[in-house]
């Protein structure tokens, strides 16, 4: 699914600064227009009086991975959280064109209750998304991430790699059309890293848009179609991954 339309030809919904008012995400939810899954316009963010983001514009398209790179403290995770509706922008608009049921977030934290078993964790999160998966579906998704044999074990006993695999299983269960990844690969064993990349391609193939904050530019760049480089709280580069020269990028 090659995306011909660049971000500008989208018909622009009225510019609505969500600085004030209820802390609610601006959801279009009326189905896909073109294939933009989430668009960010003029987003800025303050922590107290510290400027973290200013004038950020970007978009993530269906079937594509947008790699977000930049030095430490360049506001990558902050932008991701704003796009995922976990934090409010101080200025600008986040236009999410997918209902919340179809959005999934996978970050450093593994979203697991240590004393609940792998299956119980999955069942709980499924219920949070209004799903009621059958035992078979749960086992299938655990099989896919290689955790079938520890399905009944409490998640607290899992290694970091296994915990992140359970997290991935949660994402598959949701079947999202928009996925936010916050450095998912950190602390993973090579086998899990390989599984993670294979599955990210699987998500893209299923038509999901992936917004991916990464620290390993060289390793992750081949898997991305678009790159957003954040520097000094602003956008240093936003465009196709092919034309992004990673020269001088230290991360």
């Amino acid at each position: 699914m090659t995306s011909s339309a660049s971000a500008h030809e989208m018909d622009r919904p009225p510019r609505k600064t969500s600085g004030g008012g209820e802390p609610v995400r601006t959801h279009m939810g009326d189905g896909e227009r073109g294939d933009v899954r989430v668009e960010v316009r003029g987003v800025g963010k303050f922590f107290g009086s510290k400027l973290v983001l200013r004038g950020v514009d970007c978009a993530a398209l269906a079937g594509e991975a947008l790699l977000v790179v930049g030095g430490n403290g360049a506001g990558k995770t902050t932008l991701l959280k704003i796009m995922a509706g976990l934090a409010r922008p101080s200025a600008g608009v986040v236009d999410v064109r997918v209902p919340p049921e179809a959005c999934a977030y996978l970050g450093h934290a593994t979203f697991q209750y240590p004393r609940l078993s792998a299956v119980a964790n999955l069942t709980f999160w499924a219920r949070m998304y209004g799903l009621a998966p059958s035992r078979a579906e749960l086992e299938a998704v655990l099989e896919r991430v290689g955790l079938a044999r520890v399905a009944g074990e409490p998640a607290g006993t899992f290694s970091r790699g296994m915990a992140q695999r359970l997290n991935l299983a949660r994402v598959f269960l949701i079947g999202p059309r928009l996925v936010f990844l916050d450095e998912p690969g950190t602390g993973l064993d090579p086998a899990s890293q390989e599984l993670l990349r294979r599955e990210i391609n699987g998500l893209k193939a299923s038509g999901a848009a992936v917004v991916w904050v990464s620290h390993h530019l060289s390793a992750d760049l081949p898997f991305a179609e678009k790159v957003l480089h954040l520097r000094d709280a602003g956008v240093a580069y936003f465009g196709p991954a092919a034309e992004f020269d990673a020269g001088g990028l230290t991360c």
Binding site: P23, K81, L86, A87, R88, P99, T110, R127, M128, Y129
Partner: protein, 225 residues
């Protein structure tokens, strides 16, 4: 919305009863308080109905703090707060779920405090039991509504229990006074003449802080550090 709140409450109860810190600590601290206060009377003398009721509700208030602190720290351990916020669950059903779980855990710990009050403070139920039960539910509802709202307040802070109690206890005064007055009547057998007024205050408190809880919780429970 209710189904998801029930799912959250169910998960919390399973984790808390199954070995959570909150419930056990609440019960132990409550019992300790009741025992210690029984020392405030020379052994022979009886503790008055009102004093016993005050001790009972004081133990409940401390239990409330421990229960809700534990309920919210359940989410912080695995970073599940971001999971809940990124899922389509509306924030106020997290408040409802936590409030429900906290309410039940509080009632559970009070099932221990009541007999303890009878044993250590020499009280027994002379008044009408339905009044006792109704008052317990009414007061606990208010405690849970405010506890669930302010429980999210001090998360991620050092000394969050004390910060939480310093802020929560004065706010609970109206509904605690109501509980004390009605319980005193039930313990001593002669109900206070103004029980209807106290019931009105308890109901008003429940209404105000249920609405405030549902409306204000999303401002407290966010993805911001």
């Amino acid at each position: 919305m209710l189904r998801r709140a029930a799912a959250i409450a169910g998960k919390d109860l399973r984790l808390s009863v199954g070995g959570g810190q909150g419930l056990v600590q609440a019960m132990l601290l409550g019992l300790l308080l009741i025992f210690l206060f029984s020392l405030s009377r020379p052994t022979g003398e009886l503790v008055s109905g009102q004093a016993a009721a005050a001790i009972f509700w004081l133990a409940s208030a401390f239990g409330l703090v421990l229960v809700f602190n534990d309920l919210f720290s359940l989410e912080e351990v695995g970073g599940c707060r971001l999971g809940l916020l990124s899922s389509p669950v509306p924030e106020h059903s997290v408040w409802l779920g936590k409030g429900l779980a906290g309410f039940l855990l509080l009632v559970l710990s009070q099932m221990v405090f009541l007999p303890a009050a009878a044993v250590f403070l020499g009280q027994d139920i002379r008044g009408s039991v339905p009044t006792l039960v109704l008052a317990l539910i009414g007061v606990d509802w208010g405690l849970a509504a405010l506890g669930a709202l302010l429980g999210a307040l001090a998360q991620g802070q050092a000394a969050r229990e004390s910060l939480f109690s310093v802020i929560l206890f004065p706010l609970l005064l109206p509904v605690l006074l109501g509980g004390i007055r009605i319980f005193a009547g039930v313990f001593s057998g002669e109900p206070a003449p103004d029980e209807a007024l106290w019931a009105a205050i308890i109901v008003a408190f429940d209404a105000v802080f249920s609405a405030a809880g549902a409306f204000l919780f999303p401002f407290l429970y966010t993805g911001e550090e």
